[in-house]
Structures are given as C-alpha cells and as structure tokens.
Amino acid sequence: MSNKNMEDDKTYFFDKEKNVKRLMHIFYGCCALLFVLDFVIHRHVAHQWENLWGFYPLYGFVGCVVLVLIASWMRTFLMRPEDYYADEGKNDADKKTDNNVGEQNVDA
C-alpha cells in the first residue's frame, strides 16, 4: 500500500486526544512511582552524591533541560542554510542546477 501522500481518512491511535492523554498519565505515574521508590528501596551507594535526595531523577531532568537550552543557544551561531557547503568546488553556473539533483537518491 504505497499510496504516498494520498488522502488518508483513517483515524490512528495517537490521532485521538484521549489516547495521548492516557499515555501521558501513565508516564507521569511511572515518574512519580520511580521517585517514591527512591525512599523505599535501600540502595548501596558507591558515591556520596548518590545519597542525595532524588539525585538521579533530578540529574536526568536538569541535565536534559540544560542540554537542550545550550544546544538551542548553539544554533544562534552555528546554524547556516542547508546548502551552505553545496557550492564547494563548483562553478557558479553549476550551482543552481546541481544542488538538488538526486539529493534523495536511494539505491535500486
């Protein structure tokens, strides 16, 4: 059924708002449970930081937020147009015609 880009009236699982919400609630529940388990399960720790209250959950959350914020900030000076390197070693005449020819060529 390779009906690429065709109109598709079928409703899929995540098209229903209810299903997404349900999934998110399960996910939030898991997070809360894992956080509480920190206090229930006795852990033998190899490092003092691990003793801190909710060390792993906080580290994971804060680490990822910082990661994304820094990465977004990096975009301000690293981002260039998609064809930034495309004119390497080409004459000006070739530039326009060649840039996208066979760009998405996949093997036979």
Binding site: M1, S2, N3, K4, N5, M6, D8, Y12, F13, F14, F27, C31, L34, F35, L37, D38, I41, R43, V45, A46, H47, W49, E50, Y56, P57, Y59, G60, F61, V62, G63, C64, V65, L67, V68, L69, I70, A71, S72, M74, R75, L78, M79, R80, P81, E82, D83, Y84, Y85, A86, E88, G89, D98, V101, G102, E103, Q104, N105, V106, D107, A108
Partner: protein, 567 residues
Amino acid sequence: MWMLEIPPFLPFFIGALIAAVTRGALRNIIMIAIPVISAIHLWSVPEGIHLQLTFLDYQLDPYRVDKLSLMFGYVFHIAAFIAIIYSLHVRDTVQQVSALMYAGSGLGAVFAGDLLTLFVFWELLAFTSVFLIWARKTDRSYAAGFRYLIIQVLSGVILLAGALFYVAEKGTLTFDFIGLEGIAGWLIFIAFGIKCAFPMAHNWLTDAYPEATVTGTVFLSAFTTKVAVYALARGYPGTELLVYIGAAMTCFPIFFAVIENDLRRVLAYSLINQVGFMVVGIGIGTALALNGAISHAFNDVIFKGLLFMSMGAVLHMTGRINGSDLGGLYKTMPKTTVLCIVGAASISAFPLFSGFVSKSMVMSAALENDYNWIWLMLLFASAGVFHHAGIKIPYFAFFAHDSGIRVSDPPNNMLMAMFIAAILCIAIGVYPSALYSLLPYDTGYNPYDATHVLAQTQLLFFSALAFVWLNLRGMYPPELPSTNLDFEWVYRRLLPNALQKTFAVIWRSDLAIRQAFMIKLNDGLTYLSRRHRGVSSLLSRTHPSSSMVMWVAVILASYLFLSFFMN
C-alpha cells in the same frame, strides 16, 4: 578444527570475487552463506597464532586469535550477516562486492598480529568502504567520499610511519601493548585516534555516513570505528589520556545531535558518543572497564546497526531523512516503528536491553577508580543519548506532527534484518551471561541489582520527562532544514578560503609584476623604435627607392668586382 590456517578475511574476499560474477538469487545465497560458514569456522578455532610469515627479517603474524580479537570477530560476523540480509534487494554489484571486501578487511584487521598486516587492512578498510558512499551517486556523496578517503588514508599513512618507528625502537612488529612512549607510540595513537573519531578528527564520520547509501551506512557503522576501538584496547589500555578524550567524545556530540535535522547524521553523532564510552573504558584499563568497553562495542554494533537500518528503511521508503520532512510514519510503518524503539531503548541502556549491562560496567569502573567528574559526564551523556537517539529519532520520524506521508513497511529482507538485530538486543539484555562469559576477563559483575536498575530507570524517565516538559512549553528546538557548523568548517571553509585568498594575493601581485615589466619593456621598445624610425634608418618601415637603386648598384659592383677574381 578443519583448515585452521584459513584466516576469516579469506572467505569474505573469495565471496566478494564470486559475488562480482554472479547475479540474482545465486549471489544472495552465496552472500548469506559466507558469514554463516565463516562464523561456524571461527567458533571452532582455538586461541593462538595460526599463520606466520617472514618478511625482510621480520616475523609477521597475519592471523592471531585471542579472546579480545575473538569478541570483535564474532560481532563482525553478526554485523555482516545482518547487513547482508538488509541489503539483499540491492542489485548494484559494486556495493555488494565492496561490502563483502569491507567486512573481510575489518576481520583481517582484528586478527592481525603485527603492525604491518594491521596497516594493510587499515587501508583496505578505507578503500573498500568508500564505494559504499560513492554508490549513492550524488554530488554530495561523491565529495563526502573523497574527504572520507583522504582522512582515512592519512590515518593509514601515519600508522605506517608509526610502525616503522616502532620497528626502529623495539626491533619487532608484533602488535601488543604499545603505550604513549616515543614517537612511534604517539604516531600510532594518532592514527588510531583518527579512525576512532577523536574530537576534532570526528567529522569524517558525520560527513560521510549520512551521505552513503541506505544499506552502505549499515555496513559503515559496524566496522571502521570498532576496528579502531579494538586497536586502542590492544595497544593503549590504561592510558589515562583516553579517559579524558573519551569523556569529551561522550558529551560534545549530543549537543550537535539535538539540533541536527538529518536523522542519520543524528545517529552518526550518537555513534561518536557511544564510542566515547568505549574509549573511557579502555582509558581506565581495569578488567571491569575493559570488559565494559569491549562488550559495549559488541552491543553498539548491533543496536546502532538496528537504528541505522530503521532510519535507512525510512529513507528507502519515503526518500526523505530530514526530521523536518518526516512525522506520523507509525501509522503505516508500525513494524519499523517498534523495531526502531527497541534499538532506541538499547542505545539508551534501558534495563533488559543490551546497552544497559555494558554501559553500567564502564560507569561503575569510572566510580571505582575515583574518576568522579568523568562519571558525572558519563551520566550526563547517558541522559543525553536517551534524549537524542532514544526519543528524538523515533519521535520525529514516526510520531510528532503528521507529515502526511503514507508509505508501507520496507521489503521483507530489511524487516528480517532489523528483527534479528532487535532480538539480539533484547536477548543480550535479558540474558547477558551468554555474551559476558566470552569476555577476556572474569569479573563476576552483576548489573541487575536493585540499585543499578532503579538509578538508571530514574535517570531515563526523568530525561524523558524533561523532553515532554520542554515540548509542552514549546522550548524544544524545532527541526529546521539547516547545516550546523562543526570542526569540519575548518577544512571545508576556513582553509580553502584562506588558501584561495592567499593565492589570489599571489596571483594578483604576480600579475602586477608581469604587467609592470611588460610596460617597461614596451616603453623601451617604443623608445628604440622612435629613435630609429626615420626614413631609411634601422627600424624604419619604408625605404626610399633611391636607396634601393643604390643597393642594387652595390650588388652589381661587387658582382663585377668578384668576376675579376674568378677569371
């Protein structure tokens, strides 16, 4: 025990020859049979040196088997088998032949017992694999392939120079512990480092892998970097510098991965991140750390292969790979979606998936040896890899906003290959002792205790929570069609531009000097011609007829004069 002296690369090279002259089903059968037969053979080979040659007074061991090389030998067979199944539909003979040669070269390199043999296979890896990039047949892949080839060959040349210094220093070519001593140690270290994608030498990977063919990238992701990891594990275990290099490798690529749009390039960055864990393990160099590094290499070949296969399936079916063009593919590619998620869970080191055990080993080793800050970096990298490879890849390809693309799951051979890889990911995660009994050291490490499982699960779930929160707040960077500058900018833009400008200045001054000279020359000539341009002078254009008559008279007179003598 039959035919002990047949090194594993030989069946692959012979297979490549046969594949070059056969077509269709016959070639497919041969290509599948080669890794299977070779693996059965390898399973029966005992440790030891099985082949020895003498070359210019030096002893070469082209085929040496021990536990370290066996681990890589096994996983290379698995990778070749899976990737061959994945590429069965490909009719391009060049790709099939070079893929077999490439897999054979990887095997040749890990079983090489001396530096000269290692060098030969090191270069063969480059020359055979570049065709998998060029086979895409685009301008970009052509240029990327050349850059890849130049850097890989450079690494080989440095390795050869290092090997020659090594012979001069030690008087032997045997490849064992080398260490950072003398010129030889450093040269070989740099050669290994380039192939291992050390920071600043890493862009060949992120440049070339996403430009290769759908099936070619699956082969590429398995061999080159893992051969380098193997070489480091043999030559430089316990080298402290590697701990810091490895930690840098785990951290910096994840920032680029978060903002990268080409999903196969995201995977290329996360490949560097995973190799970073292995390099840290090798740098720590204890039994546990080395076991962790080697087993992580083993697992990485499989789960990274699985991820590249799933993204390859997306590219193959939709013709697109940019996150900004994709989304909602789970609707019509459910099998690929599930298989991709298995790969994502494995690379993220979820408990019961393959990455969990091996990553835990490296991190525990870091803590045991008081590398506290390194441990924190690894922990950050674990959260980060889940963020970009575990969530971003499946989310932007298969979920996110609906791109309206409706394509079916890929051909059966591709699904089959992904299925085998996924089964292996789960099997190794659930029953790790089968794999870990093969490791070089016996450490009795048990990753499945409550502490580890809880800690890792907490880390991952709250990383996911961060993703959800950022997405809901609209703070997550959207996928944008773009190029992000990386170190490659230095040799793709800065140096060419600088050279261009330098040469422009040189050409311009050269032109000015020539022109000044020409003007002076012209002036001189003009001066001379002016002085002598009067009628009947040296450079004049016209001569009066009177002088003609005079000269004729002179000739006749001399003629007359001469005739007196002749008589």
